[in-house]
Symmetry: C4
Subunit: 487 residues, 4 copies
């Protein structure tokens, strides 16, 4: 880079048209004339910065290495002349700026996951906030994920020595967890912080907490895993092109991923209306899935435009292919019925993850804890056969403890960790400490000191038991046959 | 019209008294001196415009052809002189103007049926909004129609190939529907848009969606059906004068109506208090039923004044007459109990429609989905015998899907389509697209691709099952007898 | 009165001290020097008007005849000189004036009982509003009285000839009611309107609606019943002095009262906190019970200070005495359990009235409709044996209809009629018309035309059935015995 | 004290540095140079007042005798010169001042316990309000403690002689209670009023109401009990150092304590977030437990910093030790399950107290009344064996009555009495009168006059019965074993 020609502000400004389009990023001057029409996020956003500095906008969306990875170095035409006054008009306000100019509340004043949510709603860009916080249509499942947990009472036992609490557990045969919760996969963490998934990884590494990385992460897996020592899982969206998925799995094997969480509940993105309502000309690239998310003209939201590569035809038969291309434990992420849990037991998978995708896919899909109870009622054998994970709605140490009492091996936590990225790595670490402390406190109050002491007898689920289906099959089988005959 | 005499503004203004009363409508000058006392909406509103231009008010209420249909052409005294300045005082503000002068939100920003409702509440005249949105007394059933649907959880199945979704269904033996929902009948769509039911018809024709036309439509059936190719049903209020009903049925036969939905739940209009509270001197004519709705002095609301022609003595015996005068499939619209569903099976009808009239008739009448469950519990045989339709409270693709899982052949949607008329034909089309997209999304998330795959096992109704009556008869039969003896 | 001496303003003003205290009421000048210390409402309020005109305050509280009835005519010292200027300072603003100086909404704009409540909350004096609207402590039963009714669904029957609806019923062997509801007894209607219970009587007479007059009415029974032809019941608080109660019963016999509703649920007034919070120096006399209500120093509220004459020791044995002094049908008003309903069957009474005193006595006492269901579950025989009335929470025609379907002979309506007094006799008549119209509409929608057609099969009570006790006795009888032994 | 040297303001001001630090408290001048670094609340607060008068701050936190008890009298260097002008700058505003400068509402306008809560929320310092009102995390149990009581209906009996009501009961064999409720133990009543627990004791003594004194009381037990004649219980937190606990028990024996309520539900303080959010440099000493509460740097709240002396290893085996060091009746305070109630029956204790620590420890721990019902369902024998007390959520006379009907011997009331301290001793007495009056009223309305007449048949608990666990053991015992094997 030292021998790049020095280019003046005036020179750059001369290339402000589609026919000759230069942009400055981090003092490097790039010629994007050829590339712009092929920009996954559309050429408009590039033309908007033509002849100007685009560092702020670029950094908010792309990993630093992307320009060089995407273009040949011949497009790097020079380095911006230093020691000069940058004209004021170069500073173009991003469309994506924060909603609130007040400084963030000090991190130590945040004492629970709700605080992180509140802060994020203030500090994030409208688009980031909408993308993360939104859920399917009328938000009924979003609310139920939490309210069903809140209607479970503990049955605390007292007068037990609870001085020493041990939260360790071994999963999947050989992976040791220091804490029985992990970071659930979520797309595009760079929307929240420039370091995105890397900041999460750094915090998890420090705290020895497991992290499940999304196919739609903002960084390549290798960058996320670099210099970390915590257990990493990989969330897989199976690509229409199996080759791409296999390449991702190879990357998983290389970085020592511990398990594959294959998403089975998302043939397409759900209708997340808050996400659709926030218009933006911002586009976001995801290096692993290779797609770029942006709002389409029809208000499709980031999620919808990003999901096109996902194979809508994915079905049980495809699990054979998956097993053939990875030796890692496979967890089916997104099971929502005892019927499918039973079916999972007939396949070569090592676990299921009860999830309604954070209530983002199908509104009035059942709250996660209800499905966990359905398993106890309809196919309790699964707890002897597979490991059962759960996410969607976990916000408190008490929530974690309830799921564990009811047989979950460990739980995933999604949005709260994205919100904690508001404070970067320190935020993630602080949230881990909070949840860990809440869990220890709750266990002591419940009279238990090890995860092996947990069992359903320590919770009273009667207030939601009436909503638990008691049969896997179809209560109106006879009626169904007739209907099918008629139509 | 070319040879009509040209009349000056001054000439018109000379006839501004009851004894000589001219009005201008669409540049035509009419002598309404004789007609005014017989105006179904009362003479006052005519006298108010005497000697002035009444185009705006007239157009908001009447079909253009009505003046000529009602009066002989001898009352058309001339054409307003052109090329002159219309005096400013001619512009009389309608009492019926929009509540909000801001421009409507752009149609593409409306992404669900609730958005249409919100926009209509702002853009409609107070009277139109009150008439459409109002429901019986304390609005308990209005709320329950939706909340009972919201308390049904899906039981989604995953890992199924859901690439291709097919929403087609055949009903009533030979009518093919492209989508399993249709426009429920509602009176006086011109309150919402000058093109009223015709705009709905045009949109339905484009989208191949079925439409059920009300006896109280603002246009004659023939005008609505003109140049359309979608399935049309006809909603029949049986008239005190059977002759009039038979004439309507003949019109149905002529335009190729596919089925008669005879309303059985409305011996009189319910007490819709919002409707009664909005006073107006506006009157609305309905060409088919031949009545004119206006607020009576006692706050009766539009609905109450319009329903006087409906036969309060209509009963099961009358179905023989109805069958004798039409060969079309008959659907009993407004069934609200298993007892009446059972009784319907003993008559020559082809279907029933569960409905509480959009919660407009009897407050605390049961939410529609509850009655559908009652049929499963008390007379499941009906699903083999008759087609079962349902309306009242359907607002989302998920709502449609739940009703279909529980055995509905198709569902009707009322108010949302009236609200979509805020944007005319384009609004109706946009709403159809939204609902269709929501339904497809929900089906994929549920793991189904054809309507024939739907069955009750895909929904969890436990949270409302406790409210479903288990018996058609009277649990306190013995007590009843004694009471009757005593009184 | 013609020969009363004429007294000047100056003369009156000279007697403005306790030692010589004159007041002007309706131009009559009274010497209250001796009486003031014995004034049931305390002497202060009298001294406040000493030497002044007290007409406004007096009229708001007392019946016109009270002064003459209470004092001998020797205390009437003269007549205020006419044709003179009354000094402005004579007009003392009452502490009890209306909360809102805006004119009342026109009567015809009130279309349901809630409208009357809203208007009364604006127009009544703070004290009157507090006294009428208040209920026991946390208002839980107040809310439940209505919400339990709202959770009952109708099971409407359609296709029945409902042209002619007949609401007549015969009760207590020989009393014919035109409408199956009546005005429930309530104390001190003069707080709402100078004509108080007389205005109610006049309206009831016009509309042939029954009225139950309270022991604490603001007028003597004879004045209320004068010139009326509607059925009158009498609500009896049994006095510590049986003589007084017997005198009241003799008055009942004289004016042709049809039944005695003896209150059994009020050994003392409940804790009605809104009533206690509004301080006032206003006192209110009740001519029949002979007591005067005013706030005591300790915030006891009007109700508490008024109830001291009621016999706290009243018990089942006293019914023999009651029967011995009246031949009229006896209804036990305030039954709240099947146990007491069963006990009532063993006594010589003709009916019971389920009531929680409008939720004014014991908070979390059961909502009335719940007790009615308890009777069906625990002692259905009562419906063959006694007549069962009900009040507390009836606000709509649908509420009336539900109670009648569940076996009530007729229902009482209290607060709404007090609120309707805001408009005097016309208000009461208007409310009767509204309730009657709502009831007719609801019956038609339910598919019934006579009260004899009503039965429990027309309502779905499943949403509240779980709260209905199934046994009269004590589920933990064994436990009870042990406890009693221990204490 | 008379012979203490007189010290001038100027002299005091010279000692305003850590190296020489004098403070004035109640005109006494103390040299705290040596003590400050050892101050349990940290030296900063002392240095803040160095060379100044600290009377206000000291008095708000410490008992008057503490300085002399803690320091030797040699540190008392003199007496502030009298008759001089105190410089204005000496008056340092406490960080702990009241939130609202308006005068308190007059005591007689407070008519229920909610009024006391509202007044306290206005008048208390933010820290005091936060400490008392806060509860665990999302406040679900806090709300449920009351709402579950509110969902219990009475089954009132009428027509009983209820003139004379007797609330007396004998507990623990020989202690007579005039009223069946007592003041539940709560820490640091001086936060609310300088007289703290002594004011409560004075009021209880006047009213003959029992009081349970906390280990963390702001005064030594002896000071609280001095000159009183009411029954006193002692709440014991078992200290890591058993010696300290034994010393406390000896003090109990000396002052004639009637029973030991040993807390079994608090191995550590719960996460009370409101408490943690209010930062303060105020520290509070508790003479009996010897600890000082202050916010730690990490937002631990007063409660967390205060609980460090409590033995986290306390378990059933320790009850033997407890019995060996006291002859007094032992009540296990904090039982929350039938399983532990059963276990209590196997130990030499005289009673249990159902409590969730005022919802302050574990959120979604069961509401107290639910646990009481669980005992009836799972181990009714306990009512014959032990006395059962209950606190957490009692706010009304009706609440007390419900708990008594369901078998509680007596109930404890905590926060309301702390709030009543807003008015000192008079406030406590007023609250006792209110609760007593509410209880008498409710009993009359229920048709009972003595506590021995109470039994579960007088309440209808059906609305919460579905939430009562029916088994002590583990419904999924089999599943549990498998899980343990796997992990």
């Amino acid at each position: 880079m030292a021998d790049l020609p020095s280019i003046s502000v005036e020179d750059v400004e001369r290339h402000s048209k589609p026919e000759s389009c230069w942009l400055v990023v981090n003092t490097q001057v790039w010629d994007l004339t050829e590339f712009a029409p092929n920009h996954p996020g559309g050429p408009e956003v590039i033309y908007r910065y033509a002849g100007h500095d685009a560092t702020t906008e670029y950094t908010a969306i792309h990993v630093p290495s992307l320009l060089l990875d995407t273009l040949t170095s011949t497009k790097l035409v020079g380095k911006l002349e230093t020691g000069i006054d940058i004209p004021e008009q170069w500073y173009i306000t991003s469309t994506n700026n924060s909603k609130d100019s007040r400084p963030k509340p000090p991190l130590e004043t945040l004492i629970n996951s709700h605080d992180f949510e509140r802060a994020a709603s203030r500090d994030f860009s409208p688009k980031a906030w909408a993308y993360y916080s939104s859920a399917a249509t009328d938000l009924i499942t979003l609310d139920a994920n939490k309210s069903f947990l809140d209607r479970i009472w503990f049955r605390p036992r007292v007068l037990r020595n609870v001085r020493n609490v041990d939260l360790r557990t071994r999963i999947l045969g050989s992976t040791d967890l220091v804490l029985p919760f992990f970071v659930s996969p979520a797309a595009m963490a760079r929307l929240a912080h420039p370091e995105g998934e890397r900041a999460i990884a750094a915090a998890c590494s420090t705290k020895s907490v497991a992290q499940c990385v999304s196919t739609n992460a903002s960084f390549p897996l290798k960058e996320i895993a670099k210099d970390t020592k915590h257990p990493i899982f990989f969330q897989l969206y199976v690509d229409n092109s199996r080759d791409k998925s296999e390449a991702l799995l190879r990357a998983c094997h290389e970085v020592g991923v511990k398990a594959i969480f294959v998403t089975v509940d998302t043939p397409m993105a759900g209708k997340r209306e808050a996400d659709e309502r926030v218009r933006t000309n911002q586009s976001i690239s995801t290096p692993m899935s290779g797609v770029t998310a942006k709002n389409d003209g029809k208000g499709g939201g980031l999620a919808r435009t990003m999901g096109n590569f996902i194979d809508m035809s994915l079905n049980w038969d495809d699990l054979k292919w998956l097993r053939s291309v990875t030796h890692l434990p496979i967890i089916l992420k997104g099971i929502q019925s005892a019927a499918d849990a039973q079916r999972a037991m007939q396949h070569d998978v090592q676990g299921i993850m009860i999830s309604n995708h954070g209530a983002r896919n199908l509104d009035t899909s059942p709250p996660s804890i209800l499905v966990l109870l359905e398993l106890h009622k309809c196919c309790p054998k699964i707890f002897d056969t597979l490991e059962v994970y759960l996410d969607s709605g976990i916000r408190r140490g008490t929530d974690i403890l309830k799921a564990l009492c009811l047989g979950a091996t460990a739980v995933g936590i999604g949005r709260p960790f994205l919100y904690s990225l508001n404070y970067g790595r320190e935020g993630v670490e602080h949230l881990i400490e909070i949840l860990s402390d809440e869990l220890v406190t709750a266990m002591r109050m419940l009279g238990v000191t090890e995860l092996s002491q947990l069992h359903p007898g320590l919770v009273n689920t009667l207030e939601i038991d009436d909503a638990v289906p008691g049969t896997v099959g179809h209560p109106y089988a006879k009626w169904r046959r007739v209907l099918q005959a008629k139509v």
